[in-house]
Amino acid sequence: MTEPYTRRELMVVAAGREIHDHEVVFVGMRLPLLGFGLAKATHAPDAVGLFENGVIRDRPAEAFIYTMGDPPNIAGAIACLGLMDVMCLLQQGRVDVGFIGGAEIDPLGNLNTTRTAAGGATVRLPGSGGGGDIASLARRTVLIMEHEPRRFRQQLDYVTSPGHFHGRRSGGPSTLITTLGVFDLSDGRFRAASLHPGITRDAVRNATGFPVAIDDSVPVTRAPTADELAYIRHADPLGFWTGEPMKGR
């Protein structure tokens, strides 16, 4: 009987599992950052993390960081390069996996973080940041989203970060981790790989604005181990990211 955990702690564990040992990882903030630290602490000790500001780390920051530019993320880094350096490594294909979040997603794994008319009037969102670049150039991408009907749309108003498209030469979304489950997006499918404990097929279907394949045999997302929870709570002691709903960018 495992101890209680939040849905975001479960998502962090799922994110960590997407990182293999020795991989070069384009790390985002929030859940992927925790997932990277968790992977380093468990099954991927030799993974290396790149940040879009040019920072390269082979271990997580020693203190909690709110942004990738916070001083604890610089102190003890193995390199502080420029943004162009890491983007060029990305374009060269030296980055194995990148994490991206989005406000909206479509069945091909396209993400929108630029503008949406989903609610009627057009709402301006912050924009791409490095998301569009990671989506274009990483060998594979892992997407992380709030699983809500208004965010899972058959047709996006704007594609900020390209998913699978005709003529795509490499990369593209491999996995989507949501508040309801984990989904396999490789080669343009949209198939449930696991549902989080207590989440029904109908709950997923009702929260997804387009058809999603869910096998009868779909497993339950593995619960975090005590060690995994211990790591996450050490890294996010106030539950800033794992206790409350995810935020914007």
Binding site: N53, L83, G127, S128, G129, R249
Partner: protein, 290 residues
């Protein structure tokens, strides 16, 4: 600085944002500025909310801690306090545009963005063929800012700048800009700069002016000098939800303050003490003896 200038700032992403200069531009009531940067955290949002901006060339405009930039949204969605044009980019395409100018080239090729909407019908980006017969590419046109404003740890009076920690697009922008203005924590003797020429990110002949303004990047961080002051980012995010909320904030923290020194006084010594870096974690020695 002139009205209508294009200004690159916030080039190191979340750290070293020259807020002192940002607030001074607002105080001076600059008009029709074009802001250039990768992500600006809340600096761009404050300038937009203050009505000094006509155009944005950036990859992301918001508030890193909070998400949305409400000043940006009001300007784009409702034209309040004025409408602005937005040239959308990714971090890489805005970097390529600045790098092209830094290299003295009209454009640089890339593969980023293909298949997405950012690069479609873009005024600065167009499809090109690979002259060597490879896959199709995009050409990102050069972007030469009128001014780049860069906050660094130390510089000499000739504008040779030592900068460490986050670099982002700082160097590319300094090379690309017609004029580069340095804000530094300390102006140091030339021999400090000369002691470590590999730490010099910006050679002085690219620098137009150097200003000594300690704490000029607060509430953003500066490695080895200032921690990030997190609360002001959240506070601004809260109050900027409405125009009625942001205007008193602008008066209190920008318009009614003559300069950065007063801003720091208003923050208070206990806050400054909490933010000032006192510990030392020095770089391992590097010997330049010939």
């Amino acid at each position: 600085m002139h009205d209508g200038d294009s200004v690159a700032l916030g080039l190191a992403l979340e750290s070293g944002i020259p807020f002192a200069a940002v607030h001074e531009m607002i105080r001076q009531g600059r008009k029709d500025l074009t802001l250039i940067g990768p992500i600006s955290d809340m600096a761009f949002d404050q300038m937009i909310a203050a009505g000094v901006v006509a155009r944005i060339i950036a990859a992301w405009v918001g508030n890193v801690a909070g998400g949305s930039g409400y000043g940006f949204r009001r300007a784009v969605e409702d034209g309040v306090p004025r409408s602005i044009e937005v040239e959308d980019h990714s971090n890489f395409t805005v970097g390529l545009a600045l790098t092209a100018a830094a290299m003295g080239l009209p454009y640089l090729p890339t593969r980023t963005g293909i298949g997405g909407d950012i690069v479609k019908n873009h005024s600065r980006i167009r499809p090109i063929d690979d002259p060597f017969g490879g896959a199709p590419l995009l050409a990102v046109g050069a972007l030469r800012p009128d001014v780049a404003i860069i906050h660094v740890q130390r510089a000499d009076e000739d504008g040779n700048a030592h900068l460490w920690g986050n670099l982002g697009l700082t160097v590319e922008a300094a090379y690309a800009a017609r004029r580069t203005i340095l804000v530094c924590e300390e102006i140091v003797p030339k021999d400090v700069i000369r002691s470590d020429p590999n730490r010099t990110q910006i050679p002085g002949f690219l620098t137009t002016a150097v200003v000594e303004e300690p704490g000029g990047a607060l509430p953003s961080s500066l490695q080895g000098y200032w921690r990030r002051d997190f609360e002001p980012f959240l506070e601004y995010h809260r109050v900027s939800r409405t125009r009625e909320g942001v205007e008193p904030w602008l008066r209190r923290w920008v318009l009614e303050i003559p300069d950065r020194a007063t801003y720091l006084d208003r923050l208070g010594e206990s806050a400054l003490e909490r933010l000032r870096v006192r510990d030392q974690r020095l770089a391992a020695p590097a010997n330049f003896a010939p």
